[in-house]
Each structure stands twice: as structure tokens, then as C-alpha cells.
């Protein structure tokens, strides 16, 4: 396919404290008892994209992630793990690995994507339109059951801030406007020239940018080199490319660059370009061609480039693990409605209990639950809509609802855990009650204590 994939796996994300730790960087957080990164890697493998660079912030995290990948994907994928310094943003990360980029088009994927949308489809759209950049969009996760939880009020006030506003052409193939981040707080500003060229623009607030982009390498490198201040792919580079699509500033110095690469390649490329032109014209004469035509004579040399979108259909699953809320939602959904993603086969009760797990008498594990390898549960326990990791030891009379329990967790008798995330090696002593809490790795919850909506973590020494 001549696509090179860059997976931005992040590092120890600050927004996910306390559930990330030195031992568990963001990319290795378990989703249905598998590291979240494995979902992206599997997805790429399915689309036959096997040439990957995984970019990790920080050396420690890189070592851990690299170790895991080489163990899990040996012989399956060709993966380079590239450590980059922290806090340089996605554009900075790409800048620092720029010299490793060789293929004609680059597919940039965020490592926290959990989805079943085929990246191959995005790549195909990208090629078909000969686009400079193609972004994958999916409908905003329909407010899941978590919304009804206690944090819904908070969510509502926050929600507009997290959304992006996306402008599409009537055929929903081209990206005409994108507003992200801080821009959302201001009034919307639409470029008139683009609107004039298309005549009609559909503005959507209900689409989520899935952080999966196909970008022409030449363009990416040029923008990275020219705009040194650009920090983020999503907030700087993509809006820049969208903004300048009718007056392209990129690709101008493209040709000499290509010639260095050898003539046969140029020819091949030209052929492909003309092919894609024919294709594009046959299907839909885009405004990109019409626009320069209309202004014939005055400015014949107007350059345009295309920014395309691939909109995943509504029945596809797509979510990003970028907040604690998202972490518990995704875990619940992958173990529940979207269980085809997890890669396990569910039992008749719609749950997975590892054969090696031991259950006491009168203990029930409801549907949409997972119980990992070697975990033990005492008597009269009840587990509903929760994911429990490996080798957990859970006493009697324990109630676990809507929670994620990672590996090697000990839960004493009579505890109640609701809507919480319990990280590895946590010890919860008898009769503790946790509601909507996050408990960092290795923390000890004392007997009989009661927490609500707290974030508990061991003090760093």
C-alpha cells in the first residue's frame, strides 16, 4: 500500500493520573484485560498495514511499551519504537521522527483509539481523492450509560469544550472547516472564500475527530519544517491545511524534492495522480477544480489541495481513551455492547469467565462482565458490568458494579465497589466502600473506610 503508519502512543498522560503509573503508561492501560494499544495494532494488522513506528513520550515508557510489543507482536508486525521527549506535542513528535518517514503517505494514528473502523478504508479515500490530508470522523459516542452517573452534570458543562466543529461539503467528502481546542470558546469563524467556492457547508458538532489521519509525506514534512511553532497535529497542522486548501502553500516545492527520489517514481506518481483525477472527476467534480476554473484568466496558477474526510458509519465503534471517564466507558462497552472488539468469545451469559477463575458459592457474575485468568472470588459476591483482571483475590459478600479492577487486586470481605477504577496491586480491606473513585496502583484502602468521588494514590517518594 505504500503507507507508513505512525502510532502516537503518548507517555504518562497527566489527565489519566492516578490510573497511569510509572509501570503502566497510557498505551498499556488495560481495556478488557488487553493493553489499549493492542486494539490499534490489531486494527492496523487487519488492514495489512504492518510497517509501523510507535512514538512514545519518554524513555521509560518507550522501554516498557517496546518490551510489550516485541513480546506480543513478534513476527506479526514490523514495529519500531521511537522515544521522543515529553510535552512536544504531536507535531513535535512527528518532527523528531521525520527522517524515518519514507513512504508516500503517512497514516498517523493515536495510540488510544479503540475502534473497528478499518484504517484501510481511510487510506483508500485518501488515495482516491489524491488528498493532502484525510481525517477519520465518527459520530460522537452516543451518551452511554455512564452519562447517567454522577458526573453527568459536570460532563454537560464540559462537553462543548471537548467537541470539535467540523465543516463538510454537501457530498460529505471534503473537510472545509475545523475548529478545535480553544477556538471553540470563541464565536465560530468561517472563511467566506471556502464557503463561496462550495456554496453550501454543513457544520457539524456531533462528529468526533478520531485522530486517525492520512497525510502526504511531502506535505507533512514541508509543514513541519516551515511552521516551526506548530505543536499539535490536530490543532495546528490540520486546521492550517484546511484553511489554506484553496490557496495552497504546500507542495510548491514538491517537485524538485520528488526528482531527487528518482524519475521513475515521479512518473509513477504522475500516473497515479492523473488516475485519481479521472476518478474524482467521474464521481463528482469537486469544487477544488471548479474554483480555479471560475476565475479563469485572472489567476491561472491558483493551487488548491484537498482535505478529505472519512466518516465512519454509525454502527461502527469508535472511542478514544483520553480521560478517566472514557477509560471506564470503553472498558464497559468493550466488555458489553461492542464486545466483538475484545477478541474474546463470550459465553451464553454474555460474559467471560476465564476457566482458571474460581468462584465461591452463590456468587453471580452478570452479563457484560469479564473475569480474568486465575482470579478468585469468595461466596455471595455479585459482579455487574465490570471488568476484573488477572489473579485478583476477592473475598465474600463483595459487590462490584460498573467498575474496572485491574490485575493482582485484593478485595476484602464485604466491600462495595461502584463506578470505580481499581489499579493493579491495590489492596482494599474489609468493608470498604468506594463509589466513583480512582485508586492508583499499590494503594491500600483501609478497612471500613468510605470514599465517594475521590482519587486515591500512593504518595510518590
Amino acid at each position: 500500500m505504500d503507507f507508513q503508519v505512525v502510532v502516537l502512543a503518548g507517555g504518562f498522560s497527566k489527565t489519566l493520573v492516578p490510573i497511569v503509573s510509572k509501570e503502566v503508561p497510557k498505551a498499556l492501560l488495560p481495556v478488557a484485560n488487553r493493553p489499549v494499544l493492542s486494539y490499534v495494532l490489531d486494527l492496523l494488522e487487519q488492514s495489512n498495514l504492518k510497517d509501523l513506528i510507535v512514538v512514545v513520550e519518554g524513555n521509560d515508557a518507550a522501554v516498557r511499551i517496546g518490551g510489550w510489543i516485541s513480546a506480543a507482536y513478534l513476527d506479526r508486525l514490523h514495529v519500531d519504537v521511537a522515544p521522543v521527549s515529553e510535552d512536544i506535542g504531536s507535531a513535535g513528535a512527528l518532527r523528531s521522527i521525520a527522517r524515518h518517514l519514507t513512504a508516500r503517505d503517512i497514516l498517523v494514528v493515536s495510540g488510544d483509539l479503540v475502534s473497528d473502523v478499518s484504517p484501510g478504508a481511510v487510506a483508500a479515500v485518501h488515495r482516491r481523492h489524491d488528498a493532502v490530508v484525510t481525517a477519520m470522523l465518527c459520530s460522537n459516542p452516543a451518551s452511554g450509560p455512564a452519562e447517567s452517573g454522577s458526573s453527568s452534570a459536570k460532563d454537560k458543562t464540559k462537553k462543548p469544550g471537548r467537541k470539535n466543529i467540523i465543516g463538510l461539503d454537501p457530498s460529505r467528502q471534503f473537510l472545509l472547516h475545523i475548529a478545535t481546542g480553544a477556538e471553540l470558546e470563541k464565536d465560530l469563524r468561517i472563511q467566506k472564500c471556502i464557503l463561496r467556492a462550495v456554496g453550501e457547508m454543513e457544520l457539524r458538532a456531533d462528529l468526533m475527530d478520531a485522530h486517525l489521519y492520512a497525510i502526504k509525506r511531502a506535505v507533512l514534512l514541508e509543514v513541519l519544517a516551515q511552521k516551526e511553532t506548530f505543536q499539535s497535529l490536530k490543532e495546528d497542522i490540520l486546521p492550517y491545511l484546511v484553511r489554506s486548501q484553496l490557496k495552497s502553500e504546500v507542495l510548491s516545492s514538491n517537485l524538485p524534492q520528488l526528482e531527487e527520489n528518482g524519475n521513475d517514481k515521479v512518473n509513477l506518481q504522475n500516473k497515479q495522480i492523473s488516475q485519481s483525477h479521472i476518478l474524482a472527476n467521474a464521481s463528482n467534480r469537486g469544487f477544488h477544480e471548479l474554483y480555479p476554473l471560475a476565475l479563469d484568466g485572472s489567476s491561472s496558477a491558483r493551487r488548491t489541495h484537498k482535505c478529505c474526510v472519512y466518516i465512519a458509519s454509525n454502527d461502527k465503534y469508535c472511542a478514544r481513551l483520553n480521560s478517566i471517564q472514557a477509560f471506564s466507558d470503553i472498558n464497559r462497552e468493550v466488555a458489553g455492547e461492542a464486545n466483538h472488539l475484545s477478541g474474546y468469545s463470550f459465553s451464553a451469559h454474555n460474559n467471560i469467565i476465564h476457566p482458571s477463575a474460581e468462584l465461591g458459592s452463590k456468587t453471580t457474575v452478570g452479563p457484560y462482565c469479564m473475569l480474568g485468568e486465575g482470579s478468585q472470588m469468595g461466596d455471595k459476591c455479585s459482579v455487574k458490568r465490570s471488568v476484573i483482571g488477572r489473579h485478583c483475590r476477592i473475598g465474600s459478600n463483595v459487590k462490584i458494579v460498573n467498575s474496572v479492577v485491574m490485575n493482582h487486586v485484593t478485595i476484602g470481605d464485604g466491600c462495595s465497589v461502584q463506578g470505580s477504577v481499581i489499579c493493579s496491586n491495590v489492596q482494599i480491606q474489609e468493608r470498604a466502600t468506594l463509589k466513583d473513585c480512582q485508586v492508583g496502583a499499590g494503594y491500600v484502602v483501609t478497612a471500613g473506610s468510605e470514599y465517594k468521588g475521590d482519587s486515591l494514590a500512593k504518595k510518590e517518594k
Binding site: 465560530l188 469563524r189 467566506k192 463561496r196
Partner: protein, 758 residues
């Protein structure tokens, strides 16, 4: 009100129908026979716009014919300017005697806007149900059934849905969109599912490259569609609430600019406007000369069927359609050698001479056109005489104009009624010629263009001229000729109106002349500029460093682009410099800063020109009043200016500087004292002094205590004020207390002195 009786009787006649039918009110329409604009001047000075012929038929005929065809039963024609003419016309037309279609006129002489008109109609209390609101210059052949049905259903569900606006997709190319009808660009945002109108913005020149939408729009609606490819047909289906809304908001004047935007912005009442898009039918409004031209062509090309010359029978003359879109009335005298080109309408009793060529034009009734005449893309109304050898290109020629032999009309010319163009005269492009003098009162403020249009100027001038058409006018004319002949050659009669400033750039846009090629280039160029601008504008994060120097200064001098943050900043700096000697931009800076600048300027002038202290006090007082300042601020500003003056004198050491300060204070102490009426003012100048020492004039800081002593000695500052100042500073931060410390000894002494006194 004959109309009301009639409607009552029609309702009564239907009593036998089913109850739903019984509750039904007849469909009503309001037709505004006044556009409340001045775009058709000078023609509209003598005849109302709705009576101007469009393909030889007065515009109002099209509007009424359409209203009748869509099932309207009662029409209220609102006339304002030339109300008599409209009424007379309607009375002599068959409309007043139609069964099931009643036309009533409402006359007003003091309405200056559509808002006033609707308020008046509300007062008359004639509208009982949903009504159609159009202006008399609208032309359509759409069917209203769907739109009406949609409107009623929405109304049932949501009583706030008060209006349905008809829109139509326009041509795709961005350039033709503007050049076709000569109207401003229109941007609309519509909810794709409910078709609710969310945003309406025309005339967006002031916002350079970007369009600004309220962010709440997208919070309330998950998706909206933004349109640049729609055209407003100016056909609205309104609920009766619309009228009361106009009455409630007495400042609503313009239907779109005020009413529509007012409803969209105001979310308290929650009134909603919906749109109805028509696809295959025709609807357009004659807004200016260019749309007059475009719509005439559309009529000739039969886009408006059945509203076309050979179907719309007017008067006795039958018009026949021939090949190539030539419409010919029955009695035409045409020379064999004359060539009639395609898409031409020729009215009754018109004579055409030898070797004359006519193409793409409309020629009215009773015209006589000589030999070797060239008429191209022009509109010649009734009883016009065109002598031999004339050339007319893309012009409008009104009734009874005489063009003497060999005269030439350049593209874009408008000749109003009875103008005479002298022999071999060439009328320059875009000129408008009228027998009436151009109204001298120019409304420079565009917002007010409707405010003093047709009503006052016309009412007076028309009353004098138009009604006594043939009698006195000729004698008037002979007087006029003296002054007017120079412009229109020998024997010419009429004044060429000067194009008012500002409008000249827009002239090409609205004229019927084809858009000049360079304007097209310019148009696309401005789009380029927009692009340039948008590429470097605030969308990018400030850190991107894309802002090109010079990009701000050369092209975008309006203040409208202040939304570009960094550009605005640059500008503000410029203003700050210019303000020192130019006092014309008082609003741009915050008041206090500007006030002190003003005071400083006054003071410096006083120093250099030896103005008496009393006069300076007077001037400062007037500044104080105009800026609404306190005495304390005056004192602070004067003291500041004095120290600035002292700093301005050359000095080598702080001792010399101190001497300079003493000098200045000695000279101007009376001025300062007159503002030091109390402790507050005194504290103010200490604070000001402190601020100067720590910020703008650090040279003074070592002298702080000395100067403070000096002021105390001169009895300008009382010890109370100084001690108050000290106690005020007691809890300030350490950095703020530097000067308190410096003055510690002096303060000590003061305290002891006051204790001694006690």
C-alpha cells in the same frame, strides 16, 4: 373599507361548508408598493417603482397575477410614495373588479420603511390570519401550497414559528452569484432537518475574510448548514404575530436587517423563522437596475411562465411569440431593412426605421425609432423617440424621451422621463439623467437610506411637476434648459446627476451595463485578498508567526477587521501616537489615559504660547466636563504634565533636575493649586507622583522626598494628605512601599510636628 365588507361576504357565502372550512380565514396578502430604497432614482422620483414596466408590463401586475394564482383572496396594497398614482392605476385596471380576489389599497404618507408600513397595517386591523408578505417588485411563479401547508403545520406544533421565508438556490459560481442580480452576498445558516433559519447575514463586506457565527448555534444544534448559494426571494408567509412584533419593536424598520436578524438574535421570545426552498419555480425581486435587466431577460426567456408577455394580456394589444424569442405586438411598423435580433420585445404602435438593428432589448408602445439606429441590451419604454443614427447600449430609457440624431448612450445610462438628448451627444457611462435636479440632501449614512427616500423629496417635487405634466412643465423646462443644455448638447434637456461619493464603486454592480471585465477580475481579486487575509488571520494560533507585516496596513483600512487580534493591536499603537497631536479619536483609548494626554497637550501649549493661567484652567475644566472626570484626575494629570515638562528640560545631574522641577512648580503653582481643593486631590497627586517615579520617569525617584517636601512647603499638599497616604500604603506590598521608606524621615518629622501642635 370595501375590502373588508367583501371578505365578510365571501366568508358568509361559505357558511354551508364543513366546520374546518368555516374557521378558515381567507388567505390574505400584503403587497408593499414601495421599496423604501432609492436604488431606482431618478426614475422613482416621478413614478413609483411598482409601476415601472418590466417587459412592457408594470411590475405590480406580475405580483398581483401571482398572488391571484396561488389562491390569495384579499390583497392589501400598501402605497406610500406616489400613492395616488398606484391607486389610480389599480382603479383603472381590472383588478378591482375580480370576483374572489379583492384588492384594497392602504395609503400612507409618512411611512419611511417597511416597518412603518406593517405597523400601520396592524393598526388598521385588517389581517386576521396567516398572510403573504411580498413587495410589489417581486416576481414568481411558484406554487405556495406546500409552503403554506408546512407553515401551518409548524404553527400548529409551535406557535413561535411565525414566518416562513422562501429561498431559492442560485447559480453556483461565486462570481456570477454576485454579478447576476447585483445584490449583496447572502450568508444563511439553516438547520438541515427542521429548515429553521438560524443565521442571516447580507452585506458582509465589513467582515473581511471570515464569517462569524455565534458559538451557541452549534451547542443548540448538532449540525447546521451554511449557505452561500441561496438567494432570498423576498416572499414571506407570516403569521399575524409578525405585525404585532413590528408594533412591539418600534425600531424595526427593514424587513431583513432588523426584523429577521432581530428575531434570530433575540432568544427571549423564542420566535422562529423557517425557510422553504423552491427548486423548479421562479422567484426573484427587482432590487436594482441589474436585477431589472436580469429579470427582464428571464421573462423573455420564459423562465417565469406563465408570467410572460404573450400570456399576460395587458390592454388590448396581443403579443405574439416568434422564433428566437422575439415578441411582437400586433401593430408594428417595421422597415424591411431593420434587423430584429433574438430575445427582444417590441410594443404596440412602434415604428422602426431602415437599417436599424435591435437585439436583446425591450421596446415599449408607441415608440418611433429612426434609421441606422443600434439598440442593444436596452430597455426603451413608451413613446420614446429615437432619431436617426443613435446608438443605445445597455441603457434604460423612460417614457417620452427624445434622443436627437446621432446621440449615443454608453452602457449603464439611465434616462428618466422626458429627457432630451441633444444632437451627437454621447452620454457617459453610468450617468443618470433626469429633468429633476438631484436632491441635494445626501444621506451619507447608508443606514438611513430608507429614512428620507421617496417620501419628502418626491412628495414636494412631484406634486409640482408630474401632475401638471404638459402645462407648466414646458415653461419650467425652458428655464432649465439654460443650465441643462451644456450637459446634454444643443437642444438637450435634463440634468446629469452626479454620482454621489461612495456609490461610485458600487455603480457597476447595480447598473444594467455588463459587468466590466476588470471588475470581474477585481471581484476575484478581492476573493484572493480574502484568502490572503484568512490565511494569516487569527484562526492560526498566535504562535504560528504567520502574520505578514504590511498585510494589515495596505488593504484593510476599515475598522471592521479589528477581529484580527494582532492587527488590532498594531493599530492601537498607531492611534496612541497619533493622539498626541490629533484629538479626533477619543473613543479608541480608555478614557482616563486619553484625558491625561489631552490635559498634557493643553498644558504644553500653554507653556509654549504663554497662555494665561486662567485660560488654562478654563480649558482643563472643559476637558474635565467632556470626559466626565473628577477634580482629582485633573490634578493628577496637571501634575503629571508639569513633571513631564521639567523632565523635558536638559539636565546633567539630579540637582539640576530638581531645580527644573522647582522652576516649573513655581511658575505653575497657581494652576495646580486651583485643582487641589481637598485631601483626595492631594493624595491623588502623591500617588501619581509615586507611579511616575516607579514607572515612566525613574530619574525622579531619588528626588521623591525632596519634591514631596517642596510641595509641602508650597502648601500644595497638607500634612494630613501625606500621612493619609502613608497609612494607605501601610499594608501594601514591599515593592510598593519603596517611596514610603524613602520619605520615612520626612514622615517622621511630620508626625512629630503634628504631635507638637496637638
Amino acid at each position: 373599507m370595501g375590502a373588508q365588507k367583501k371578505s365578510a361576504s365571501t366568508v358568509a357565502a361559505r357558511t354551508s361548508d364543513d366546520p374546518e372550512e368555516l374557521a378558515r380565514v381567507p388567505l390574505q396578502a400584503v403587497l408593499l408598493a414601495d421599496s423604501f430604497t432609492t436604488k431606482f432614482r431618478p426614475i422613482t422620483l416621478e413614478r413609483p417603482k411598482v409601476l415601472l414596466p418590466l417587459a412592457n408590463v408594470p411590475m405590480i401586475e406580475y405580483a398581483l397575477a401571482w398572488l391571484e394564482s396561488v389562491g390569495v383572496e384579499e390583497v392589501f396594497v400598501f402605497c406610500c410614495a406616489h400613492a395616488k398614482q398606484v391607486t389610480n392605476y389599480l382603479q383603472s385596471s381590472p383588478w378591482f373588479s375580480q370576483p374572489n380576489f379583492s384588492v384594497a389599497t392602504i395609503e400612507s404618507h409618512n411611512s419611511v420603511s417597511a416597518g412603518d408600513a406593517l405597523r400601520l397595517i396592524y393598526e388598521r386591523n385588517v389581517i386576521h390570519g396567516d398572510f403573504i408578505l411580498i413587495s410589489g417588485d417581486t416576481l414568481s411563479n411558484m406554487s405556495l401550497t406546500r409552503a403554506l401547508q408546512e407553515h401551518r403545520e409548524r404553527k400548529k406544533k409551535d406557535s413561535n414559528a411565525v414566518m416562513t421565508m422562501v429561498i431559492k438556490r442560485s447559480k453556483l459560481s461565486p462570481v456570477t452569484q454576485q454579478s447576476r442580480l447585483g445584490t449583496d452576498e447572502l450568508f444563511m445558516a439553516i438547520d438541515p432537518d427542521t429548515k429553521q433559519l438560524l443565521f442571516y447575514e447580507e452585506n458582509t463586506h465589513h467582515l473581511k475574510g471570515t464569517l462569524s457565527l455565534d458559538k451557541t448555534l452549534l451547542i443548540d444544534n448538532p449540525s447546521i448548514t451554511l449557505h452561500n448559494d441561496m438567494q432570498d426571494c423576498f416572499i414571506d408567509i407570516c403569521s399575524p404575530e409578525v405585525l404585532s412584533l413590528f408594533t412591539d419593536n418600534f425600531d424595526y424598520q427593514h424587513l431583513r436587517r432588523h426584523f429577521v436578524k432581530g428575531l434570530l438574535v433575540d432568544d427571549i421570545m423564542g420566535y422562529k423563522i423557517y425557510t422553504h426552498e423552491i427548486h423548479s419555480s421562479y422567484a426573484a425581486r427587482v432590487d436594482n437596475y441589474r436585477s431589472y435587466d436580469t429579470i427582464s431577460k428571464d421573462i423573455i426567456q420564459r423562465w417565469t411562465y406563465p408570467l410572460v408577455p404573450d400570456v399576460l394580456l395587458l390592454g388590448s394589444s396581443a403579443t405574439k411569440l416568434e422564433r428566437e424569442g422575439i415578441y411582437r405586438a400586433s401593430e408594428i411598423v417595421q422597415s424591411r431593412s431593420a434587423q430584429i435580433g433574438p430575445l427582444t420585445v417590441i410594443g404596440n404602435n412602434t415604428r422602426i426605421g431602415n437599417n436599424t438593428t435591435i437585439a436583446n432589448s425591450v421596446i415599449g408602445k408607441g415608440c418611433s425609432i429612426g434609421s441606422n439606429v443600434l439598440i442593444e441590451g436596452s430597455y426603451i419604454w413608451d413613446n420614446v423617440t429615437v432619431e436617426d443614427g443613435c446608438q443605445l447600449r445597455h441603457s434604460i430609457v423612460c417614457d417620452r424621451v427624445v434622443m436627437k440624431s446621432g446621440s449615443v448612450l454608453s452602457p449603464g445610462v439611465v434616462l428618466s422621463f422626458k429627457v432630451v438628448v441633444g444632437q451627437n451627444v454621447t452620454v457617459p457611462t453610468y450617468s443618470k439623467v433626469s429633468l429633476l435636479l438631484q436632491p441635494t440632501k445626501q444621506d451619507s449614512d447608508e443606514e438611513l437610506e430608507y429614512a428620507d427616500n421617496n417620501s419628502d423629496v418626491e412628495a414636494s417635487s412631484i406634486a409640482g411637476t408630474h401632475n401638471n405634466l404638459n402645462g407648466e412643465l414646458t415653461s419650467d423646462l425652458s428655464e432649465m434648459q439654460g443650465s441643462a443644455t451644456e450637459e446634454l448638447g444643443s437642444g438637450g434637456v435634463g440634468y446629469i446627476w452626479s454620482i454621489c461619493e461612495g456609490a461610485s464603486e458600487e455603480e457597476w454592480r447595480h447598473s444594467i451595463a455588463p459587468v466590466p471585465a476588470e471588475k470581474l477580475v477585481e471581484l476575484s481579486q478581492t476573493m484572493d485578498d480574502d484568502l490572503d487575509f484568512s490565511n494569516q488571520d487569527g484562526n492560526a494560533p498566535a504562535s504560528s508567526g504567520e502574520l505578514k507585516p504590511g498585510g494589515v496596513s495596505d488593504s484593510d483600512d476599515e475598522d471592521g477587521d479589528a477581529n484580527n487580534d494582532s492587527a488590532y493591536f498594531e493599530k492601537e499603537v498607531v492611534f496612541q501616537y497619533s493622539i498626541a497631536y490629533k484629538d479626533v479619536f477619543p473613543i479608541f483609548l480608555n478614557n482616563t489615559a486619553n484625558f491625561s494626554l489631552q490635559v498634557e497637550a493643553t498644558f504644553l501649549r500653554a507653556v509654549h504660547e504663554n497662555v494665561k493661567v486662567d485660560h488654562v484652567i478654563l480649558e482643563v475644566n472643559s476637558l474635565k466636563l467632556s470626559y466626565n472626570m473628577e477634580f482629582a484626575a485633573c490634578a493628577g494629570a496637571i501634575f503629571y504634565s508639569m513633571l513631564k515638562l521639567a523632565l523635558g528640560t536638559p539636565y546633567n545631574s539630579s540637582a539640576e533636575l530638581y531645580n527644573a522641577v522647582i522652576n516649573v512648580i513655581n511658575t505653575w503653582q497657581r494652576l495646580l493649586k486651583s485643582y487641589l481643593s481637598g485631601k483626595d486631590e492631594e493624595i491623588e497627586i502623591i500617588l501619581k507622583f509615586e507611579e511616575m517615579c516607579s514607572e515612566s520617569a525613574k530619574e525622579l525617584s531619588p528626588l521623591f522626598t525632596k519634591i514631596l517636601c517642596l510641595l509641602y512647603d508650597k502648601d500644595m499638599i497638607s500634612e494630613d494628605a501625606i500621612l493619609d497616604w502613608e497609612s494607605e500604603k501601610k499594608y501594601a506590598e514591599e515593592s510598593d512601599r519603596v517611596f514610603v521608606k524613602q520619605a520615612e524621615k520626612f514622615l517622621q518629622w511630620l508626625r512629630e510636628a503634628s504631635e507638637e501642635e496637638d
